[in-house]
């Protein structure tokens, strides 16, 4: 019964998310376009599926995964677990947080695979490219980027180095990779930065950052707790561009080897 109440609450919240879109599209159809929407019934049923599906998804996450993930983040950054004593040393030792980095990377990877926005974009990309870009290929590449990003982000929180240095370095890498990447992947790569951080990843990652910043000695949650999401949206761009570059390079090498074989 309590669960039902929770579910209805989430359903209403998701419905409220959709409301401006419905008003906008409906208004445009009535006032500007003045044409019926093709297959209106189908579209409406589909939209209802999206709202109910998303509400179920969120309710399930809140029931099962979020509490667990938050508890685990707290346990892994607990001084008793990290240093073996309840009193942390005055200066954080970044080598003591090995499990934390691993957990950050793995949970970043896993939540990105389940991220509905990324599923949507991967679906579209695979459709538009006639299957040349495989859905799983893109999703795994993006997830690896998020994993690297969040892991590095937790390292930044532990060491307390300034955020903008990492972001600056990331931007420079993105710019360099853009110059050498195949043209048709660039827009998709930039987009995959934005889609990784939504329903599943943000709550877990934010909890991870705030928990870590408040338990690592010498860190201020207000200043150091933020920024993980920025890592999670920057590094997938690098991994997608990098992977595209790698595939081009390998195809190129294969062709060259084949040509050599022919020549012999």
């Amino acid at each position: 019964m309590e669960f039902l109440m929770d579910f209805i609450k989430i359903l209403v919240a998701t419905g409220r998310d959709v409301l401006p879109i419905i008003l906008l599209i409906g208004g445009f159809q009535l006032v500007v376009l003045r044409q019926p929407i093709p297959h209106l019934g189908r579209v409406l049923v589909g939209s209802v599926y999206v709202v109910i599906g998303l509400a179920l998804f969120l309710a399930g996450l809140e029931k099962a995964l979020f509490p667990l993930g938050k508890i685990m983040a707290a346990q892994l950054s607990d001084p008793v677990f990290v240093y073996g004593t309840p009193e942390p040393p005055a200066l954080a030792d970044w080598t003591a947080y090995g499990w934390m980095y691993l957990f950050a990377a793995l949970i970043g990877f896993a939540t990105t695979i389940a991220e509905p926005s990324l599923i949507a974009v991967a679906y579209k990309a695979s459709e538009v490219s006639m299957g040349t870009i495989s859905q799983w290929g893109l999703r795994i590449t993006v997830a690896i980027g998020v994993a690297a990003g969040i892991s590095l982000g937790t390292f930044r929180i532990v060491t307390g180095t300034p955020l903008f240095l990492y972001i600056l370095a990331g931007y420079i890498m993105v710019i360099l990779l853009t110059l050498v990447s195949p043209k048709n992947i660039i827009a998709l790569a930039y987009d995959s930065g934005g889609v990784t951080t939504s329903t599943v990843t943000v709550p877990l990652v934010a909890a991870l950052g705030l928990g870590l910043a408040s338990s690592v000695p010498g860190r201020n949650p207000a200043l150091d707790g933020f920024g993980l999401i920025a890592f999670a949206s920057l590094f997938p761009i690098i991994s997608v561009l990098g992977y595209a570059r790698l595939v081009v390079w390998m195809t190129h090498r294969k062709t060259r080897t084949a040509e050599k074989t022919y020549a012999v």
Binding site: R42, V43, F57, V121, E127, A222
Partner: protein, 330 residues
């Protein structure tokens, strides 16, 4: 071409362009399954839709091949009505299998850390399993709804607006879509309240509730306006065919310059604001809008020009939030 080379390099650029993105090669199957009623009534439903969407690009033999394929598909559907129930079941089973695969990594990671590293039993196994089942059901419905509702409506709007030919209304729609979906976004409301709290404690603004609320509202409005503008600029880019990397790299330079002059307290929030703006319902709509526009307008490739709207929507808020910080704190 990257990502699992199924059809490497040999699709000429022209063909990619003339490909109407409405013709879902994957979802042709799912349409048969889920929409039997419609197909029965009108077996040529897919076909008509295809011709309609191909009008702007009906130039190649490739189009003919595609419509042949669609014809074959609809005749297959006619012959196999008796197997419908079987097909529906195997289709649903397939979908559930995909959703379980999506969720599997999370389960493995949590289990590994609980059993190997933290070594404590799961708090309430029944609850967790129930929650996981809900997540699977939710993903199945969500993906089905994407194919039936969000993608088609986004593309239909793109086609309708492009055919109407009014640049003004197209841009109004783009801005309104970005603004209206962001202003009410729960993640943004939470982040803005948090940011106001921090600014109040830091002594940057008056710590009383009224000025905190004004600050948070100002933050939300600047993010929403920036997302609206981002979609608008992105649509203009698709129309003009500008290469995306100049705009994005230019944006990065502005972000870096603003970081130097912006107050320290706003920087972390500004960087995160870029990530939280694009919600799960906005992303598919915006992606469909971009791809729909790029495949309607002659000379644009859905892959090169259609994507990129979301990238703008995560870049511009950073600049606007830092600008807001400069404006308020100085």
């Amino acid at each position: 071409m990257p990502f699992g080379i199924k059809k490497p390099l040999h699709i000429p650029e022209g063909r990619m362009r003339s490909l109407p993105s409405r013709l879902f090669l994957n979802s042709c199957v799912s349409t048969e399954m889920t929409d039997n009623a419609l197909t029965k009534k009108n077996p040529d439903f897919r076909m008509q839709e295809t011709i309609w969407s191909c009008q702007s690009a009906a130039d190649s033999d490739y189009f003919r091949q595609l419509s042949d394929r669609v014809n074959i598909n609809s005749s297959i559907t006619d012959n196999r009505h008796q197997h419908d129930t079987m097909k529906i079941f195997s289709f649903i089973f397939q979908r559930i299998k995909t959703a379980v695969t999506d969720l599997l990594p999370i389960i493995l990671v949590v289990a590994f850390f609980q059993l190997v590293v933290i070594r404590q039993p799961l708090p309430d196994l029944g609850e967790v399993i129930f929650g996981a089942l809900l997540v699977v059901a939710g993903l199945v419905l969500f993906v089905q709804g994407l194919e039936m509702g969000l993608f088609p409506i986004g593309e239909a709007m793109a086609y309708a607006l492009a055919r109407k030919g009014s640049l003004f209304w197209l841009l109004v729609f783009a801005f309104a879509l970005g603004f209206s979906t962001t202003i009410a976004e729960p993640a943004l409301i939470a982040v803005a309240a948090e940011a106001a709290d921090i600014a109040g404690k830091g002594g940057l603004i008056d710590p009383d509730q009224k000025s905190l609320n004004t600050y948070a509202l100002g933050l939300r409005i600047s993010v929403a306006v920036s997302v609206g503008l981002a979609i608008l600029v992105g649509v203009i880019r698709i129309l003009k065919g500008w290469p995306i990397h100049f705009l994005i790299i230019g944006g990065y330079l502005v972000v870096m310059l603003m970081t130097i002059i912006a107050p320290e307290e706003i920087i972390g929030i500004a960087y995160d604001a870029g990530g939280v703006t694009t919600s799960t319902i906005t992303v598919p709509l915006v992606a469909a809008l971009g791809v729909g526009l790029a495949s309607t307008i002659k000379g644009r490739s859905p892959l090169i020009d259609g994507f990129g709207l979301i990238a703008f929507a995560s870049l511009l808020p950073m600049i606007f939030v830092m600008g807001y910080g400069l404006l308020i704190f100085n």
